[in-house]
Symmetry: none
Subunit: 203 residues, 4 copies
DNA sequence: ACGTAAGCGAGACGGTACGTCGCGTCTTACC
DNA sequence: GGTAAGACGCGACGTACCGTCTCGCTTACGT
């Protein structure tokens, strides 16, 4: 992504390679894809692949970075007014995922790469942390417990990842807006209230 | 898992192999472990490994099954009284994970196997579904929406998995009881209340 | 064939094993036969095979010895009157081979074992040497050149082996008597006379 | 033998491999030679061996083809004048074998490959058939019996093979010319005359 | 515009791991 | 004592990818 911008040809080759990877990951899962297959699909010589990427992980990393950049850009600045009702941020997230649904499905599914999921999770935690900080800064008196905060952020991030995964595995049966709502409901009211059995109690 | 119970020696060999895998997974992650290494570590001939397991996945599958069986047994019958305060079930879960923390850490970490995480997640969903059903059955009038329920269960399961992962990655800085409390708090009060900023609002 | 004569059972087992080998050699050639297959075909446990034979070579060796013993017995004492016309000895050889044609075909064919062919060739040379010595002893004045004799014996033995092989590979299109005649003709008159082109000359 | 002529390196590698095989076959016999050993001796990676040859048989086949080509070329056109005295053809054969004596000894000996011997025998039969045909064509009146001819050719070929084998196993105690003479004597005068005991008679 | 450096295909190569097969030895239990 | 059952170490097999490398061709860039 750096040394190769010089030539048009290199640009083209990288695009071919990336497209090939995505196709193949969709077809058989990241783990099963080999460099040889990517090259054959591109179609490009196997040695050419290695000219641009150290291995298939470097390639997926690049794709991931691009996608995350797009996501970050799409979410806009974090320090916005945040209200319980404003689920716009999450809605945008789901829209973004929906736009790249084949890629996300391939990479997050059970044939996906754990490493990719971890990266995405981290990214979600970061995003959530930014937003939380904004909120916390607005409440001067709030005590902070970094570790505790961290745990809750991780829980939230995992929940959101779970929502995305579920959504993709079920072929997006609901709108991005509905998903965002569901997530927010879970986050604000808790699980049982979200299920409408507020009087019940967990075992 | 079945055909080998005959011989005592076979039993012993399997144990050696399983121990070897766990050690190696802890050291370098599942993906990096090689059948040859497992055999060398056991110590057992590589061919002997193949006498009992088709590949390293079959081996980890067996280990997983055993662990899950132990977990299920440990959780006891599901149809128990469930109160918002009763977090015993989840506490037991964390205790179980803590008991096998090296294995879980190895298999759930980012060097772990996605497939293992998926299996465990499914298992959590099933457990949660059982419990939910018990609760719902106790509330005759409650309307049910299978899909919606499913989503919420998946969210909860992901949250719990996230808690476990976080706990293990940070070398279990809190007690199983505390973790269970944190999880339950998140599930019952939602994310913001759990953070003690009930008045704040998600972006 | 020595330590096992004790039990009837052992006798029986050896017979089964030998029969199995012969069948298999006929079906797929000696080289392709494995101990496991022999055992399975017998049917006998593989370990039992090893109780009696060190490997498949030891087994075929035993079979070979038996066959050669029968052959030697069939040929009778060597010091008989020998005339150019008396081809009875060679006829008996072909009859013997014909009687065991499946075994010989299996072991001498191109899927046979080189080692077996070599053994048989040696045996032929020995037989021929015996006969030659008898003849030579009857001619007191004949000069001897051991090396030269040896070469001619080997040539003769190879020729005979070739005749046997040809006969078997073509499914014995002629009688043993005809074969013996052909061999003797070649041996006594030479190749060109045998072909009826005595005036022609080799290139 | 065809697809690799492109690269110079490939050429070189094949040469190394072939040399290695020949060395090893001389040392321990074809059957005992392992692909791994060939590779180690070349020296070349085992995988590289498989790049060029399916297995050790394919390799020896190629070597054999080359040697036979050289032999055929060396023998020159077949339709030459052939006299009883002209043993030049056979002399050339022995010279050729002598030139490659280590290879032939390795492949024809009792540790050699039966398949190789069979191939060589066939080749000899073909060569002999060509020559015979030339001779027969020169004698219009000669009756022909294809089967009978075939048998005699096979006998001659086996005899020659036997001569070659004997020669090699005894480390070529005589000149190629002497060997050719011995063979021709056997072929033209028959076994007993060749032994100088024309009055004696076979049993 | 055109020579030159790049991008690229082709493919050889060493290397690691795979999963399979067959060997010959051994122990255990049965009859 | 002979046998079945089968575990075990061993070593070779042929295959699949890996990441590196060299070699020419061609092509599109820079001056």
């Amino acid at each position: 992504m750096s040394h190769r911008k010089g030539g048009l040809q290199g640009e083209r080759t990288c695009k071919l390679i990336r497209r090939a990877l995505i196709e193949l990951v969709e077809e058989k899962g990241f783990a099963e894809v080999t460099v040889g297959e990517i090259a054959a699909r591109a179609p490009v010589n196997r040695a050419t692949f290695y000219r641009y990427y150290r291995d298939k992980y470097a390639l997926v990393e690049e794709i991931f970075q691009d996608v995350v950049s797009e996501l970050s850009a799409g979410l806009g600045p974090t320090g916005q007014v945040a209200t319980r009702e404003r689920i716009v941020g999450w809605e945008r997230l789901f829209e973004h995922v929906g736009r790249h649904h084949r890629l996300y499905a391939a990479l997050l599914g059970r044939r996906g790469d754990p490493w990719f999921a971890a990266r995405l999770r981290e990214r979600c935690v970061e995003l959530a942390r930014d937003r939380l900080r904004t909120v916390q800064d607005a409440i001067p008196g709030a005590g902070r417990d970094a570790e505790s905060d961290d745990l809750q952020l991780v829980l939230a991030a995992n929940m959101i990842l779970g929502a995305i995964t579920w959504w993709l595995e079920h072929h997006r049966p609901r709108s991005a807006h509905d998903m965002a709502e569901a997530v927010v409901r879970f986050a604000t009211q808790g699980y049982f209230d979200a299920l409408g059995i507020g009087t019940a109690q967990p075992g």
